[in-house]
Amino acid sequence: MHEMSICENILDVLKEQARAQNFGTVKRVSLEIGPLAGVEIEALKFGFDVVMRNSLADGAALDIIETQARATCLDCGASAAIAERYDPCQQCGSHNLKVTSGEEMRIKELEVN
């Protein structure tokens, strides 16, 4: 349950950006979250509304782009989508995989006033 502190981190970034880029309020926040980032999307949405209350992003819309997790097999070289970290290589069944994407946790875009 670290979604609340992730939301607090988002709010910190918004405050810093408001100073640096000279805006007053945030209307929309777009996030990019990978399936291996360890973030529960529903909990994040709930935490977002609570944490943003009475801040510069009070009532801001939250868009979440869920990315795909991919891994490359270090034994046979195949690259494929995975759902979980412990999924085997679809080609050769090996677990010797290197995750190449799916761990991202990024603020992609803001709509501000």
Partner: protein
Amino acid sequence: MCTTCGCGGDGARIEGHHYGDHHHDHAHGHDHAHDGRTIQLELDILAKNNAYAAENRGFFADRGILALNLVSSPGSGKTALLVRTIEMLGGRLKSFVIEGDQQTSNDADRIRATGASAVQINTGKGCHLDAHMVGHALETLAPSEGSVVFIENVGNLVCPAAFDLGEAHKVAILSVTEGEDKPLKYPDMFAASDLVLLNKTDLLPHLDFDVAETIANARKVNPSVKALQVSARTGEGMEAWIGWLTAARGMALAGHPLGTAAE
């Protein structure tokens, strides 16, 4: 308010760290004469934590300190293992400890009984340590050059995985009274760790615990993870762990003046 970084201390409490007034954020009704616009950020949400972690990593590198982040579920025997480890390192290597728990200073008290310095961080509602708390704890702890800093994270196999504290390695401690499938149930933590310590092996004769299956499961999520079997109670296997620690310290000292001096 903290004079170094302006933190308000409203949540986590760090022993020896002085907070003043709380910092309050008010929603001021500023009028900005801008129309709505879109800003492309592409910024890591944990960028701030990662920046503090980088500061901590610099602190450790400058002093030739090996820092380890010990993670596990509650009750895996982390503190007992740490007490035994500090005793075994004894005069060879000076140990410093940062203890993370939601409440109480019981664990720091146990560590101090060994003679090692310890600072307790109470995270309050928080479920993990972050790099900012650890940075402040380091100010109070003031670990000496060439020492080992053990950061005992909050007992939790989920949240601490995401928060870099500036450590050289995460070490996951799993006791044999837990399930073999724990690495699969909590894959992020085992993927983030460089070493798994399988603790309480003295209990194995009384359990149907499959050691090989557990290690195989950990390797499914992290093919390069190392695994050692230890018993903090009997001391069995502890020499191998001390060996790993000594090797990791050698790595931490590479390029540091202390590293050449130790040769």
